[in-house]
């Protein structure tokens, strides 16, 4: 078993160095090899997971007597028509199943989340404990309305709408700035984690 672990550590070091040659140097043969290798492995893994899922949730229930599920096998068999061009349009049917149910789910979920967040955003500035949060909740109210008005299509944005547009854009920028800044920690942690993995595998720490 120890030999496998050593081999694993060597593979790990080699792969990390190869893949890091892209940002730290430039696109090269080693990087390209890792790229194609990784894509192959992930495709294989996803297929294994999919086959296991089908085995567990479709094939064994059918053998156990849920004959109704044969329907889904027949329907998804239509997906294979894409290998034979004249009947390729039949693949649309199972895809419509996916798209239809996604849209049904999303319609309700979108309205529900819009309503929920609208209620959660309805602050009363006077009820806030300190000046900072009072001021903040005023920003929240203005931000919600101006951002919603920023995304309107039917009216020309002039007159009062020009002003809401401008304020909306500034407040959207605060949001983008915040999301840019708050991610730095995560990114550096991942990077630091890889350095740690590399150093551990090399036996330096």
């Amino acid at each position: 078993m120890a030999i496998w672990e050593t081999l694993g550590n060597l593979t790990l070091i080699a792969l990390i160095l190869m893949v890091y040659s892209f940002p730290l140097y430039k696109e090269n043969l080693f990087y390209r090899f890792v790229e194609y290798l990784f894509i192959g492995v992930t495709i294989g893994h996803a297929t294994v997971v999919a086959v296991q899922f089908l085995q567990k949730n479709v094939l064994s229930p059918i053998l156990g007597g849920e004959t109704f599920l044969i329907g889904v096998l027949l329907l998804s068999a239509l997906l294979f028509t894409r290998f034979y061009r004249p009947y390729a349009y039949l693949a649309r049917w199972p895809m419509s199943f996916l798209i239809g149910s996604m849209m049904g789910l999303r319609i309700f979920a979108s309205v529900n989340s819009a309503k929920r967040y609208m209620l959660a955003t309805a602050y009363n500035p006077l009820a806030q404990p300190d000046l900072l949060s009072q001021l903040g909740s005023v920003f929240v109210i203005i931000g919600y309305i101006t951002a919603a008005l920023y995304f309107t299509w039917g009216w020309e944005h002039k007159g009062p709408l020009r002003w809401t547009d401008k304020i909306g854009r500034y407040l959207l920028m605060t949001y983008f700035g915040v999301s840019f800044g708050s991610i730095a920690m995560a990114r550096f942690t991942w990077f630091s984690g890889t350095i740690k993995t590399l150093l551990t595998a090399m036996g330096l720490i």
């Binding site: 329907l75 920003f139 605060t174 949001y175």
Partner: protein, 224 residues
């Protein structure tokens, strides 16, 4: 016959059927709706798993064809393109995917070889590439955080203060950073974030309607 099953009304009917039952299950809790939406969702998961298998097969076909083309030194549809001479890479993808599937299906995911591959290749590379982001982030921040316009200045101030808030290092410099940073994080940015979210919700619903009714020509129509 052929013209009949080509009609786009069939796909629209399927979409309407699925959308209605999945939607109605959430809105109105009657047993028949619940049961129907449950099997629709079960079928959806099964179909998506089959999609992956179809994609796997077509990736094998495509890579085999590419290897043939790249070995044939420049005739065929891809002559002169970047494919020529690249057979080694396509072969890598092909072998890696087929090998993974073979090991995974015959020996199982819990077996030692598969776990070895998963730990040292899959997990290792996923983490290593994700950590690229740390490096790319610096390049992006270096360019983005220049106070050229009013908008960019806002971006700079919010970004840097929040950076110093999430990191304990900021508090060590000045205890005021976390206060300002959390104010941006918890108050100022929230309103526009949710306003944008509202707009996206409306956009999603409108897209759903257009797709189901067949107005988004390229994605919803079945026939021509």
């Amino acid at each position: 016959m052929s013209s009949l099953i080509r009609r786009k009304e069939i796909t629209i009917a399927i979409m309407l059927f699925c959308a209605f039952f999945v939607f109605a299950d959430r809105a109105y809790k009657a047993p028949i709706l619940l049961d129907t939406s449950k099997w629709v969702q079960k079928w959806v998961l099964a179909i998506s798993a089959v999609t992956m298998i179809v994609t796997f097969i077509s990736s094998i076909i495509r890579n085999t064809r590419r290897i043939q083309t790249s070995l044939s030194e420049g005739d065929g549809p891809d002559a002169g393109s970047s494919i020529v001479g690249q057979w080694f890479y396509y072969g890598t993808t092909l072998v890696a995917s087929v090998l993974t599937v073979a090991v995974g299906l015959t020996m199982g995911i819990q077996s030692n070889p598969y776990q070895w591959m998963y730990q040292y290749v899959f997990q290792n590379l996923a983490t290593a590439i994700a950590s690229f982001l740390g490096l790319f982030y610096i390049g992006a921040a270096f360019r983005a955080f220049r106070a050229r316009t009013a908008e960019a200045a806002i971006l700079l101030i919010c970004g840097v203060t929040v950076m110093l808030t999430t990191n304990p290092f900021g508090e060590a410099i000045w205890s005021g950073f976390p206060v300002i940073g959390s104010w941006f994080l918890n108050w100022v940015s929230i309103g526009s974030r949710r306003g944008m979210g509202l707009a996206s919700s409306v956009g999603t619903v409108a897209l759903a309607i257009r797709v189901i009714l067949g107005y988004e020509r390229s994605v919803s129509a079945g026939g021509e």
